[in-house]
């Protein structure tokens, strides 16, 4: 016979407890709901057989020079905002996922290091490490193996990551250890199983390091994710890969299969190095899904709209479970920290910004590619390394939510405080060099198209504002009150939007108008 029944769910013994239960805030899946989800994602509305043509910042500059990816003339196509081949574009992707670049482009990006020792690119500098054997020979999974053998693995990993001072590399710069701890504590406190997610939704035009890591060092990504899972006590993990990266998805799947086969991870069967279910989830074409709350909704099969925080995903994430959403590059740092110790990590970078960062170089650089730098290296040093052509007008730093930086500010050190003091956002570390002869009105209009295209529609300032800005800029505005109002609207959107997308996208546009003058808003460029 069973135990005497417990009190009812709410614990409400007070009969006539009047307050209705809190609203659920979850959609009820009806016919409209399915339409809503489907219409949100660009891929889902696409016709089959369509090729994707990149119009990201660097590819658009290349288009303006008359270059293009050689697709068959008859191929149906649509434009997308970045395919992650900014250094060798203009790029296109056929419907079957094959990459199309102009003739003569290298098969692989140029990878370089300005660091005393590379951390993120440690293996990639020597070539592709997607094969498990080669990855293990290079030490991948060594950190995980030693971590699980330690007496209190979760606490040890967590403590090492915290002491390393690593910050998220996706753009927000939140301390990694603090995020993991918050998730671990929420999971323990609520008794709900946590989940960890690698955020491979690298949408910023100008950034492609996560693509490279997912494609050519996927075991390092999985090891980083496994350490994160170990630290927070998760037995379930997801690698989210944007649909514009089909090769990355295939390579992660293959790596996962190999890791499973080798008994390392990937499921929770007994005897695994780390019992961890891992699945790969594809995006469907939405920039905002790189934002962690939107990404969670996308995985849940909902519209990828951002939600106000708190609650943070570490407390209420995927399906309400405590969740870590961590950028790919950030995760790849974790094995180094665990294997070599926080002190070794702190030997890189600055006290406030330890470690290294991979900077992606595209646009009018002499030597585009990806270069790993010590945090704290000056922007000018990176520009020198990459070799800028004559007449460099400015650098678009950090993608559409970043900043425009002119040569007079190239002395800024690329790390937390100096950037913040100058109001510069490094974002995910993409640098697009823009020459003096570039058509900045086109640049403005393209940026506004991106803004209006990718706004999720959840909050009013961003959804209506982005659309209005684009319409006005396309039509052209007379000098005076109308252009002032345009600038005010940019400010309003930045101050009132719900998530970082609406807050940050107007910033470089404001900078562009300040830099190039509001004649960019004239119907035709002023003579």
């Amino acid at each position: 016979m069973k135990e005497p029944p417990r009190q009812s769910s709410s614990g409400a013994t007070g009969l006539g407890a009047r307050a209705p239960a809190a609203p659920r805030g979850e959609p009820v899946p009806g016919a409209a709901h399915a339409r809503g989800v489907r219409s949100f994602y660009r891929d889902l509305g696409a016709s089959p057989g369509e090729a994707r043509v990149c119009i990201g910042t660097a590819c658009a500059l290349a288009h303006a020079r008359g270059e293009k990816a050689p697709l068959p003339a008859a191929a149906a196509r649509r434009e997308v905002h970045c395919l992650g081949h900014c250094d060798r574009g203009p790029a296109a992707l056929t419907a079957d996922g094959s990459l199309v670049l102009p003739p003569g482009r290298a098969a692989r990006p140029s990878l370089r290091a300005m660091t005393r020792e590379p951390i993120v690119l440690a293996r990639l500098l020597a070539g592709d490490h997607a094969e498990l054997a080669r990855a293990r020979a290079a030490g991948v999974y060594g950190a995980l193996a030693s971590a699980v053998a330690a007496p209190d693995p979760a606490a040890a990993v967590l403590s090492e990551i915290e002491r390393s001072g690593e910050r998220g590399r996706g753009g927000a710069g939140f301390p990694t250890g603090a995020k993991w701890r918050a998730c671990a504590e929420a999971a323990r406190g609520r008794g709900v199983a946590p989940i960890v997610i690698a955020n491979g939704d690298e949408g910023d035009p100008g950034s492609f390091i996560d693509r490279i890591l997912l494609e050519e060092d996927p075991h390092a990504v999985l090891e980083g994710l496994a350490l994160c899972a170990l630290a927070v006590g998760a037995r379930e993990a997801i690698v989210f890969v944007r649909s514009e990266y089909p090769r990355a998805r295939a390579r992660v799947e293959a790596a996962l299969a190999q890791a499973r086969e080798a008994g390392l991870l990937g499921d929770t069967k007994p005897g695994r190095l780390l019992p961890l279910d891992v699945r790969v989830v594809s995006g469907h074409g939405s920039y905002v899904c790189g934002e962690e709350t939107a990404l969670l909704r996308a995985i849940e099969g909902e519209r990828g709209e951002a939600s106000p925080r708190p609650p943070y995903p570490t407390a209420h994430g995927l399906h309400g479970r405590p969740t870590v959403v961590q950028n790919v590059e950030t995760l790849v740092n974790a094995p180094f920290i665990v294997a070599r110790g926080a002190a070794a990590y702190r030997a890189h970078g600055t006290a406030a910004s330890p470690g290294t960062k991979v900077i992606c170089l595209s646009g009018d650089f002499a030597r585009p590619g990806a270069v790993e730098i010590e945090l704290g290296t000056s922007l000018g040093a990176v520009v020198d390394e990459a070799g800028s052509a004559d007449g460099l007008r400015m650098i678009a730093v950090g993608g559409p939510m970043g900043s425009l930086v002119t040569p007079d500010a190239f002395d800024v050190a690329l790390c937390e405080e100096p950037l913040r003091a100058r109001g510069i956002a490094l974002g995910h570390g993409g640098l697009v060099a823009i020459r003096a002869d570039a058509d900045l009105r086109s640049f403005l209009l393209r940026s506004l198209v991106f803004f209006a295209d990718e706004s999720c529609g959840r909050c009013m300032p961003c959804s209506l504002g982005s659309r209005r800005l684009l319409a006005q800029a396309q039509a052209g505005l007379a000098p005076g009150a109308d252009r002032d109002a345009f600038g005010r609207l940019l400010d309003t959107i930045a101050q009132t939007s719900l998530c970082a997308f609406g807050e940050r996208v107007p910033v470089p546009l404001r900078e562009l108008l300040a830099l190039a003058g509001d004649d960019l808003l004239a119907a035709k460029p002023a003579p």
Binding site: M1, K2, P4, P5, R6, Q7, S8, S9, S10, A12, T13, L15, G16, A17, P20, A21, A22, P23, R24, G25, E26, P27, V28, P29, G30, A31, A32, H33, A34, R35, G36, V37, S39, F40, S286, R303, S307, P308, P310, A452, D453, S455, C456, G457, R458, C459, M460, P461, C462, S463, L464, S466, R467, R468, R488, L489, T492, Q495, T496, L498
Partner: protein, 900 residues
């Protein structure tokens, strides 16, 4: 400022845990403007109008979403915020055609905010080329996309209140818009027309037929209780005089009411057209030379008195009977039973509870000692597990259905037992579809399984119940496989259902007429009660027995003693103390001999023993089984008097028809399914000379020589409180008025007693909860040679019972005819097409109806609603009754079908 306080615009406030800045500000009288927030819904935080500054926080925060932390200093109205709000509102304004924002409309929150917070534009904003859609496909609801601001209140209201999921946002960014169903049309969507979205729309983009025009300046609002189902929703009825007549203009739900919390169903909100219908009865009618002709009240009442008196003198007390109305007030029901008991000395007093929940009332009385729900609607939100048996609340009790659906969406487990695949089955952990008429076998099988699994609350059974041993022995005589085979439910499913029942917390049992309207109705309720006793469910929060009473006041009519064997307050006829109270109040003692039940009265009428019948607001010609028999019975009467709104099939057969007031016109009380006594207040005057039911009975009593002097319904209620003090002693109209929107749940024996949401908490009213030995007997309509299908009759969402009221409203268009639901396999076998006309025949009679081929019914079962007189559903239903409670069997009639 202490450490527990925060400051908003210089005002000190102590935030409750998790309280939003918006809510805390409102408490101290600061109204932060917002467009997308709505109390009771989740936060969208999308309009950004409510952004506020928090000292030490670089970002602005949405006051609707951000919690107010102690120690914080918040500013809601700075120059920066004012400027941003003006910008945002101007941006919103610029995306609508200027004319839809027009002059400030009373419902348009955007227009009001624009006037308050945004400077007038220098030039009229151009109409933005947004993809506006509009919809006028529905008889009740309208959408004008040009007014829509995508605040998503409708989306959230539909998902979080009704749970229907009609709306979503489609596309994204500036192209985003509201989508309705699969095709942006209400008529093809899952919309139930509850209207919650219309209530919550801030701009009038969503509106309805009652809200197309602004209200006249002299419109006023009164609160009353809905007169449709037994949920008892509280209404806010807005009315005004138009064209010289008082009219109901709009009905909305009372937000502060416990029962419905502002929610309503399509009937409660929209089905008021009957009130002003052109064919309302407005004058008394008396039959002269075969025709009903208008006459005066004095003449009509004198005629009634003369005829009743004559029949009484000539044939004696046994020749007279009455049916009180479960649609009318407690006061009207009480007076009618009193009139017949006191003036004519007969106990031939009944009401339509007889044909619905009489088995529940009897079974509960036997098992627990009280003929009413042990639990309350609020228990549905506390329940961890709900068992829904023979009830379809999303159609028949829609507001409770919505609450149940939300509870399940939140994680409560649901077990549905029903031969039909009703709407809630989609959310159920398990749906058992037994053959009609096999409930007792199924509950026995479940009880056996619980016992076998040891999943019984042994302490509860030992300490609080009796009769368990005999019950267990009876169960042991049954073989599980035989029981399962008889129900047509797999043993594995029975085991799974038992496992659900035996979960962490005792279940809440919700049942409807699918359980009671059977020949073993009372026994089925007892057998269900056994499960509740075994699991220790009765008297525990979030658990117990919660029958869904059909009509608005069917609980009340029974409470008032409208039964041949019970006095007001359920006193037995031979209860000496009750008798003494009646003698004091009535001047006459109650009679010791039980009278006839409704079906027995009809039989006595056909047999010539009953000669006069008073029917208050009921249409047995359409609602009672075996229509031909009912017609013969009514025609055999010497005298029939009917109080009615319309000339129903029953009223047509009357000698005197008395025009009645409907629920929107009456004053008094209704008692809902959870024993909640609530006030009914007249919103409008009854048309013509139509009169309130209580008054007509009182007037007739005086015409019959009784010295009845009631100043009004409040006076009648005071007498009820004296006559049945255990239940109502603490209640009065004045106290109910003071209780606001919530009424009070009986028992309420004293003025300082708070009422009783849950019965049997410490001990059962009868001492111990009782197990019974119930043999399982197949019904008389089971396995009838040549009639291979089992017909179930019941209701659909958009109509109420015999449709007298709902057929006279615009939503009639949503369900213009009754359809026979038939399983696709059966339809194929019989050559019946969807929409084709079917000849439906039982041993009792036949009719023709159109078919609806649907998986909602199991194979071998058919379902037919009975809302339309031309359907003649009750020509087919038979004469079998539950021998204990005399309730007819509407839920299993052996029929055969063929294409007509």
């Amino acid at each position: 400022m202490t450490t527990r306080e925060a400051s908003i615009d210089g005002r000190s406030v102590t935030p409750a845990p998790g309280e939003s800045i918006l809510a805390a500000a409102r408490r101290v009288g600061i109204e932060i403007p917002t467009l997308c927030h709505r109390d009771g819904l989740s936060e969208a935080a999308g309009c950004r109008i409510c952004l506020v500054e928090i000292e030490g926080d670089a970002r602005l925060r949405a006051a609707c979403h951000a919690a107010l932390e102690p120690g914080r200093t918040v500013r809601t109205d700075t120059p920066r915020l004012r400027a941003l709000r003006a910008e945002l509102l101007a941006l919103e304004r610029a995306s609508h055609p200027a004319d839809v924002l027009g002059p400030p409309g009373e419902r348009n929150e955007l227009t009001r905010l624009l006037a308050r917070c945004a400077p007038a534009p220098d030039a009229p904003a151009p109409a933005a080329p947004r993809p506006f859609v509009a919809d006028a496909s529905h008889p009740l609801l309208r959408f004008d996309g040009a007014r829509c601001i995508l605040c998503r209140r409708c989306v959230r209201a539909c998902d979080e209140i009704q749970g229907q999921g009609v709306y979503a946002i489609v596309d994204r960014g500036g192209e985003a818009r509201l989508a309705i169903g699969a095709a942006d049309r209400f008529d093809s969507s899952d919309c139930t027309a509850c209207g919650a979205c219309v209530d919550d729309c801030p701009t009038g983009a969503l509106f309805d037929v009652d809200r197309e025009r602004p209200l006249p300046a002299d419109a006023t609002t009164v609160r009353t209780t809905c007169g449709y189902c037994g949920v008892g929703c509280q209404l806010e009825v807005t009315r005004a005089v138009q064209d010289g007549r008082p009219r109901v203009l709009q009905i909305a739900g009372a937000r502060e009411a416990d029962v419905n919390r502002g929610h309503l169903c399509a009937k409660g909100r929209f089905a008021h057209g009957w009130q002003a219908a052109p064919d309302r009865l407005t004058t008394p009618l008396v039959r002269r030379d075969g025709a009903l002709v208008p006459t005066s009240w004095d003449e009509a009442l004198a005629h009634v008195a003369r005829r009743l008196d004559a029949i009484h003198r000539q044939h004696g007390a046994d020749a007279l009977g009455c049916l009180a109305s479960s649609r009318s007030t407690n006061e009207a029901s009480y007076l009618l039973q009193k009139l017949f008991r006191v003036r004519f000395g007969t106990n031939h007093v009944d009401c339509c509870a007889r044909v619905c929940h009489a088995p529940t009332a009897l079974a509960f009385a036997l098992q627990t000692g009280v003929s009413a729900a042990t639990a309350s609607f609020d228990d549905v939100e506390r329940a961890r597990m709900v068992t829904l048996v023979g009830a379809n609340p999303t159609e028949a009790h829609p507001v409770f259905g919505a609450r149940l659906r939300q509870a399940v969406l939140r994680g409560a487990q649901l077990l549905v037992i029903d031969p039909r695949r009703t709407e809630l089955c989609a959310l159920a952990a398990l749906h058992l579809a037994p053959r009609p008429g096999t409930n007792v076998a199924l509950f026995h099988a479940l009880a056996k399984q619980l016992l076998a699994a040891g999943a019984v609350d042994a302490a509860y059974v030992a300490e609080r119940t009796e009769g368990f041993e005999a019950f267990a022995q009876e169960l042991a005589r049954h073989d599980a496989a035989t029981l399962a085979a008889h129900c047509g439910v797999a043993e594995t499913e029975i085991a799974a259902a038992a496992a659900l029942l035996a979960g962490a917390a005792p279940p809440l049992f919700v049942h409807g007429l699918g359980l009671t309207e059977q020949t073993q109705g009372t026994e089925a309720v007892l057998a269900l009660g056994h499960l509740a006793l075994l699991l220790g469910a009765i008297g525990r929060p979030g658990a117990g027995m919660l029958p869904l009473r059909g009509q608005n006041n069917v609980q009340g009519a029974a409470d008032m003693g409208c039964a041949p064997d019970r006095l007001p307050g359920y006193a037995a006829l031979d209860d000496g103390e009750a008798g003494a109270r009646m003698l004091r109040a009535w001047g006459a003692p109650p009679l010791p001999e039980p009278g006839l039940t409704l079906p027995e009265m009809l039989e006595a009428a056909e047999g010539g023993r009953l000669r006069a019948l008073w029917i208050q607001g009921e249409d047995p010609m359409q609602s009672d089984p075996d229509e031909a028999h009912v017609a013969r019975a009514l025609e055999a009467l010497d005298f029939l008097v009917v109080q009615e709104l319309f000339l129903t099939e029953t009223a047509r057969r009357a000698e005197v028809v008395l025009p009645a007031a409907g629920f929107l016109e009456q004053d008094g009380t209704f008692t809902n399914a959870e024993r909640r006594v609530q006030r009914v207040r007249p919103a409008v005057a009854a048309p013509g000379e139509a009169r309130a039911d209580w008054r007509v009975v009182a007037d007739a009593a005086r015409a019959l020589g009784l010295d009845w002097r009631y100043a009004g319904p409040a006076d009648v209620f005071d007498e009820i409180a004296r006559v049945a003090p255990a239940q109502f002693g603490g209640l009065s109209h004045r106290r109910l008025d003071a209780a606001g929107a919530d009424g009070i749940q009986w028992p309420c024996p004293a003025p300082d007693h708070p009422g009783t949401p849950m019965l049997h908490t410490e001990r059962f009213a009868r001492g111990r909860g009782r197990f019974f030995v119930i043999p399982f007997t197949p019904g008389p309509e089971h396995a009838v040679e040549g009639y291979p299908y089992a017909l179930i009759t019941g209701r659909v969402l958009h109509h109420y019972n015999v449709g007298t009221m709902t057929r006279r409203t615009p939503q009639h268009a949503l369900a213009p005819e009754d359809r026979l639901e038939i399983h696709p396999a059966d339809a194929a076998r019989e050559g019946i097409a969807d929409g084709g006309v079917v000849s439906l025949e039982s041993r009792w009679g036949a009719t023709r109806v159109r078919a609806r081929v649907t998986g909602r019914v199991r194979e071998g079962a058919l379902f037919l609603s009975f809302h339309h007189p031309e359907t003649h559903a009750n020509r087919v239903t038979g004469r079998h009754r539950d021998p204990r409670a005399n309730c007819p069997d509407y839920k299993e009639t052996a029929v055969r079908i063929r294409p007509a």
